[in-house]
Symmetry: C2
Subunit: 376 residues, 2 copies
């Protein structure tokens, strides 16, 4: 069977059932897409598949969908294509195999943009968050998007207002790859105020959806879409999230898919950080405050993350007694060893031994009148 037949069959199947459709997915896996499509059309399917497909099985708009996609420079990427991101999406197959029906993999993906899906998802992180983000959240999301893109990581998000948009913009500003996963058709500019942003993402990255061209967004679809965002990143960073938030749903999906979940903290009185703090407090997410920490957590480039080293102090490495002797020295007044012994509580013979040691490292200064601490 030809590649065109497969593409037509999967275009039909994508529209005939509302994702996720676990019974249809399993049926396609068994029968293959072309036979599966023909049997769904004919109503010759097991009851569970009929349940998922009966409402729309007579609507065969596959050719129209492919034409409409083509008109906006989009294409249907199917699992049979070399660019199918099989590795990132494997977590969905595994999770649905464990009985998580929501995790059913997509039957195919509409893609608008020139990037090869497989390529751009080799190194990728999802950055998500509240639509009603604060300026703090948008700032952090932009910085993270920029920093990840600079390190050649693809930034996956949902093109929504607030955090999503800021993350995409940051990645674009760094000249990096970014992928917007939609809850509507790849040709639908949603939200409308992001038309220009979406056009830039389509040009420099990719807009991805399992919904056919011109499909409108629906609440339910955002939740279903979130599993794809979670699957497409090596980890998911939640930048800001209210107590009830789609971003927390994405975080929960990511966790269930075995992905790293990360959250950015913020001021405790910010309602938009409450979701992140809850994720951190319950141990559902790991705290990240910088891009190197994100990279360290997703574990692909551990050596990029600088270990937080405290600035060195001259007294580092001194023993207790040496520190006490050093503390007992004055910058202004010279003191004798006996006075230093009394001040510090260190035995006189130890004081006599320690003072020259401190002098060697520049921490004590010997004068005619006695010992001083050098000015720093």
């Amino acid at each position: 069977m030809s590649a065109d037949e497969v593409r037509l069959a999967r275009a039909y199947l994508l529209r005939v059932a509302e994702p996720p459709a676990p019974a249809l997915f399993a049926f396609v896996e068994r029968a293959g897409p072309v036979v599966a499509a023909a049997r769904v059309r004919a109503g010759d399917v097991p009851a569970a598949v009929r349940d998922e497909t009966s409402a729309r099985c007579e609507h065969d708009l596959a050719e129209g969908d492919l034409a409409r996609a083509d008109a906006v420079g989009a294409r249907l990427v199917v699992p049979e294509d070399p660019e199918w991101p099989g590795w990132p999406l494997l977590c969905l197959a595994n999770a649905s195999g464990r009985g998580l029906r929501w995790a059913t993999p997509p039957l195919a993906l509409w893609v608008r943009g020139s990037a090869s899906l497989d390529d751009v998802l080799t190194r990728s992180v999802a950055v998500v968050g509240a639509r009603s983000a604060t300026s703090y959240g948008e700032h952090v999301a932009t910085e993270f998007g920029y920093g990840l893109a600079e390190q050649s990581f693809t930034v996956v998000s949902g093109a929504a207002h607030g955090i999503d948009g800021a993350a995409h913009r940051g990645a674009l500003a760094a000249g990096g790859n970014t992928i917007a996963v939609m809850a509507c058709g790849v040709d639908v500019p949603y939200p409308a105020s992001h038309s220009a942003l979406l056009a830039r993402i389509a040009r420099d990255g990719a807009i991805v959806s399992e919904y056919p061209p011109s499909a409108t967004p629906a609440k339910y679809r955002f939740l279903v879409r979130n599993r794809l965002i979670a699957a497409m990143g090596a980890g998911t960073v939640v930048v800001e999230a209210g107590v009830r938030s789609g971003a927390r749903n994405t975080a929960a999906s990511a966790a269930a898919l075995g992905k790293v979940v990360l959250a950015v903290p913020g001021p405790v009185e910010s309602a938009m950080s409450r979701g992140c703090h809850e994720l951190l407090r319950t141990g559902a997410a790991t705290l990240v405050s910088t891009v190197p920490e994100v990279l360290e957590a997703v574990g692909q480039v551990g050596d990029l993350a600088p270990t937080t080293t405290s600035p060195k102090r001259p007294t580092d490495g001194l023993g207790d007694q040496a520190i006490r002797v050093h503390d007992a020295l004055s910058v202004r007044t010279a003191r004798g060893p006996d006075q230093i012994a009394t001040e510090s509580g260190v035995p006189l013979d130890r004081v006599r031994a320690l003072l020259p040691e401190l002098e060697l490292t520049g921490l004590a200064h010997h004068t005619e009148e006695g010992w001083r601490r050098p000015r720093t």
Copy 2:
């Protein structure tokens, strides 16, 4: 032997060795304070004790110290006193028993203030943080101090600039108990700009120190003092801390003493939150953003912490198909069941069954023209 003898002996012993003095502590435990003091004075002690005491053993200022304390309304509280906070300090004895020499318990405590130590430390939390705190950090510390005091918790801190001072002030503002543990004598107003604050703490709470009256603070003493702050709270809350910070030392001490360590998050770009974020990131601390969360973590009043409940939505509790049917309804346009079935991908017979259910709960509205979603 009289109580006065014991008090004189412990006043002498507190000054003769720089705390923590593990060998002296063990010697006092074995010989008792009066005999131990006499033998230290005479130099008739094991080598390890001599090492800790030889520099100052001839300085017997005990009577003078007690008189000076009395002059400022302070007293020496000894383990033989009923108000000795044996329970909170037990963690120090346990930790030093496990070989942590820094955890050696105090030989006695100078106390300025009328509060009974044992009483006020029954329910207590340490609140600590950076001296160079931000206004955000000081605000949170004040709120936490206030909120903890309101719940009859004693706020233990170190009277330093920044977070410490704010925590004390919050507790005082709530009319609660607060304890300042000093790295100098209880009569030394350090920092000088906190003279008025310290006077209020002495009046309404207590100033506590193991250093004799008029002892001056030294770097080393702050670290040694921190173990007492950590020991005196059921948990330690770090509000703000730089990467290198005394508050992190207190947090580490608290952890080693088996206490709960809590940290307050803040903006990721704030240098003063970096220490807190590091504690959270590495799992060394649990995130807290409210006083009820602190109380829940210290585990004394779990029922005070409200479980974070999401606001109820009318669609809560609906199944997938019902949510999809609800999503497919329009506020503006009435739709027929077949159209809704196509939109939602839910089989027509299920749509016909679900619509009346949604109508019952006010989520769908039946008109002459078809089904709509009611305006909310």
